[in-house]
Structures are given as structure tokens and as C-alpha cells.
Symmetry: none
Subunit: 258 residues, 2 copies
DNA sequence: CTTGCTATTGCATGAATATGCACAAATTGC
DNA sequence: GCAATTTGTGCATATTCATGCAATAGCAAG
């Protein structure tokens, strides 16, 4: 019998809640090998402390900030999680890595291996807050004006700060990847920031969820020639990937296994 | 009987705690061949020194950066909410305001009137994320290295960025306010950042929750002469406030009404 | 060497806490 | 509506906790 302290268990519940956006009493009781009563009691107590919101069958996040974030995560598609996990695996100890804003990048942060010593540079306060709970990574936050729609920092001061950084890898999230038009996104300022981040990293790896492939958005970030890698889901057809493969881009496939 | 000095044993407990993230009283007593009482006594003493956190069944680390911060957030006392609300009321349309990190500052962000057009400068990603949902305020985020314990940005680049800003008001959170020693806080780097922020603002207003008054922490931020205002709860006694009043500091009382 | 003091440890007791089970009430899905 | 699941409550049991007290060992002074 592995001793699991009560307060530790409560923290675990909150962690699961933060990471998945919800907890189900029955599932938890099975995973932890305890009776549902105990879990329910925990949930009740946590709820009375205002740390989560009790609902039938389990619980949901309480605070608006957490909730917003968690709900975005809960809608984070399975594809994004897999891509995030595959990206996290590419990061080596001691590297300096730039993480973009966006939901897929959050998944990378979530899946960074415990104990990995690395430096994460980001212009997303969401990512920064997310990484607070990761003991061993150093976080460098790019400053500037906050662009609320995407919750990332933009503007000239940000570009200036970025220019002073030389990173190993930049994981870029986009809204369109197209053989002819390259990487594109939906905001003018963000396009410039992404371009600057890419210029500051030795390698630029695109997080290519299926719906982004061969799509085009209004603002061009850079041509595919600047790209060194792509991460796609394993099911992506070979013919869809062929043009990128021909350009010498390293394609990583995110498989399904947990 | 192998002689194990008490202090040696305590160090061992802390080592185990650091390595495994938890200690269980029963397991320890078996491994060390001592009664559970002795172990519990040790745990109690270590807890009273703040070197670990006592829980039922054993102990957990004192301040896992994230857990600590999260719990501090959730225990936002009624006093802090009132002070936050009172501070928010002081902000005029069009002003440029610097918000510190910390729980009280989060309360200010939460209570900013809907529709208020202002610019908020902050070195706290938490505050930045909090203000995303506030349509009309502009957010400027100071960049730099993230200090996880307090979840704020610190370091030379941050100081440099701050120097380029001229704000109207800086709301500063501290851990000690004392007539003789001035403003103090618990971290060396944070003290410097707070000093820089204060220098960049025309007015510096201290968020003085009751437990901070006449308390002193290790690192000095600046003397009271640099302070222009204080926000305290209405119940604070006049004699406690007299020394600050005599220095010409504007004292705002946060009343109870919602 | 002995005496007295102190610190440490172990034990006993009552109190507090945690957990599981049973049963009635409430909620949900069909 | 009705059946199935989920919840809350009361209760029993097992740990775990805190306190007071006694035994032991170390130490210093006489």
C-alpha cells in the first residue's frame, strides 16, 4: 500500500482539474484505489474552500482565470495534445526553447517531462504561469504590450527583446501552412513577432494540427524555406506531407499511444 | 543502538522530503528505528521553523513554488479584497498605473471598474492574464526572468524596461511597513524591482494589510519618505497610523461596505 | 564518584482525523 | 414517470495527533 497523504491527494485532484478541466469522482476513486466516499468528501471540502466547483458526478474549476484556461484546455483537441506531447519530447536538457502562444503551445508546456532542465522563452503570460509549477525549467518572459485576443505580447519593445536572444528551437503555432504561401496567421502584429522569434532560433518547428495543413490566413509570417521541422498527427496522409518533405523539412509524427 | 543526533536526523528528514516530495511519519519511524512520537516531534519543530509543511500522516515541502502561490491566492482574505477595491477606486480614467505582483494586487485587477480606460503596467504574468477579460484597459507586461516563488519577473532586463516608463501611480505590495525601516520584503531581487517601479511612478501607494503594519522583513525597498499614500482597512487604530500620518502620507481607509 | 540538571526519547491516554459502509434523499437520463 | 446513478449523513473503525509523565543518557559542578 503506497501511502498517499490526504492533503497530497487533494493537491493531486486540483492538479488533475487544472490539467484536464474536470474531474469525475468515480474515475478518481478507481485511479487512487480509494472509495468514492473519500473522494467525494475531498471534493466537498475543496468546494467549501472555494477551490473548485462541485457538480453532479465530479467537479469543475472554480476561479474565472483557471476556468477560462481549463475550458480552453478541455476543448483542446486530442490532436493538439498529441502534438504538444511529441514536441515536448524533442526538447533536450540544457536547451533554450521558445514557446509560442496558443493552445498547442500550452500543451507542450503541460507535457514537459518533470525534472527536465531547460530554459523556456515565451511571449505568452499564460505559458509563463503554467510553467510556474515546473520546478526545473527557467522561464524568460518577453515584455511589451499585451494583445488580448491571443494573450501574447506584441509590439516594438517585444521585437527588440527577442533580437537579443539566440535559442535552439522555436515551436511556432500558426493558422495556416501552405506549400506556396508558407506560414500565415490571422493578426498582423503577431505575424511580425513570430517572424522575429523564428529569426532568433536555430530551428523553427511548426505545430501543424490537421486543420492548419494547406490552409492560408491573411498575414504571412515567412516562407517554408525558413522552417526546419513540422509536427503532425500520425494519420496525416503521405501525399499531403510530400511537398514539405521535398523541401527537406523534418517531419515528426505524433502517435496515439499515451 | 546507532547514535543519530537529533539535528542530524532532522536534516535527514529534510533530505528525504526534498528527494521524494513527502515524508510519512510511520515509514520514517520504521526506517530509523525510532518511535513515531519522536518523528512527529521533529516534524512539529521543523514545521514551526517553517522548513516543512505539516499534514496529517506526515509532512510535505514548505513552499513548492506553485502550490504555495496558489494557496496564497485562494486565501485572499476579506481585508485584501477591501484594500484591492479601495485601490481600484483611486485609479482615474487615462492614467498609467503600475500594479505589483502579489495577492492584493490581483484583487485590484479584479475590482477595476468595467469600462475604465487606463493603462496597467505589471511585471506579474498572473495580473496580465487576469486583465485579459477587462476590455478597456491596456496592459503592458514587463519582461525578464520569471521568479517563480512570487510569480513575478525580476532581473536586469526588467529594471531596464521599467526605467523607460513614467507612470502616474504604483501600487506596491510589501511584507513589512515600519516607521523606522520603511518598506521591506522577503526577496532581494524583488526589493530592487519594487524600488525601480517606485522610481518610475509619480506616486507610490502601499497596500498595507493589517499584518504588514509595523512588521519588518529582511530586504529594504525604500524609506517611507518615498511613499505618497497608504491603503489600510478602516479598523486600523489611529495611534498605529500616527507615524505615517506625520510624514505626510495620504492614508486611504478601505471600508467594509460592498 | 556522585549529585543534580537537562535534553532526548518512549509510552499512555484522550482527542482529532481519515476512511469505508449502509441507507435515505436527490439528480439525471431515458 | 422510472430506473440508475450520485449524494449526503450517520455511524463504526482504524490511524494519527498532542499532551503529560516517566525513564534514560549525557554533562557539568561539586
Amino acid at each position: 500500500m503506497i501511502a498517499v497523504l490526504t492533503s497530497q491527494r487533494k493537491q493531486l485532484i486540483l492538479d488533475v482539474l487544472r490539467q484536464t478541466g474536470k474531474v469525475v469522482a468515480k474515475e478518481l476513486s478507481q485511479e487512487l484505489g480509494l472509495s468514492e466516499d473519500t473522494i467525494r468528501r475531498d471534493l466537498r471540502e475543496l468546494a467549501s474552500e472555494g477551490r473548485l466547483q462541485r457538480v453532479h458526478g465530479g467537479a469543475l474549476p472554480a476561479s474565472p482565470a483557471m476556468g477560462d484556461f481549463a475550458s480552453r484546455l478541455s476543448v483542446a483537441s486530442e490532436e493538439k495534445k498529441r502534438i504538444g506531447k511529441a514536441a515536448a519530447k524533442l526538447i533536450q536538457a540544457g536547451q533554450v526553447v521558445i514557446l509560442d502562444g496558443g493552445t498547442t503551445a500550452v500543451q507542450i508546456a503541460r507535457h514537459l517531462p518533470r525534472g527536465l532542465k531547460a530554459t523556456i522563452v515565451t511571449h505568452s503570460p499564460t505559458i509563463a504561469v503554467e510553467l510556474v509549477s515546473h520546478e526545473s525549467v527557467e522561464v524568460i518572459l518577453i515584455g511589451g504590450r499585451l494583445f488580448k485576443h491571443s494573450v501574447v505580447v506584441v509590439g516594438a519593445p517585444a521585437i527588440e527583446s527577442i533580437a537579443k536572444i539566440r535559442a535552439d528551437t522555436y515551436f511556432v503555432g500558426v493558422t495556416g501552412i501552405h506549400p506556396q504561401f508558407g506560414l500565415t496567421t490571422g493578426d498582423f502584429e503577431e505575424a511580425h513577432i513570430k517572424k522575429a522569434l523564428s529569426a532568433s532560433a536555430a530551428e523553427t518547428v511548426v505545430l501543424a494540427s490537421p486543420e492548419k495543413l494547406n490552409a492560408v490566413s491573411p498575414y504571412v509570417i515567412e516562407p517554408l524555406a525558413e522552417i526546419t521541422g513540422m509536427i503532425v498527427v500520425a494519420e496525416t496522409s503521405e501525399e499531403m506531407l510530400a511537398p514539405y518533405f521535398d523541401l527537406g523539412i523534418t517531419i515528426t509524427k505524433a502517435s496515439q499511444e499515451s
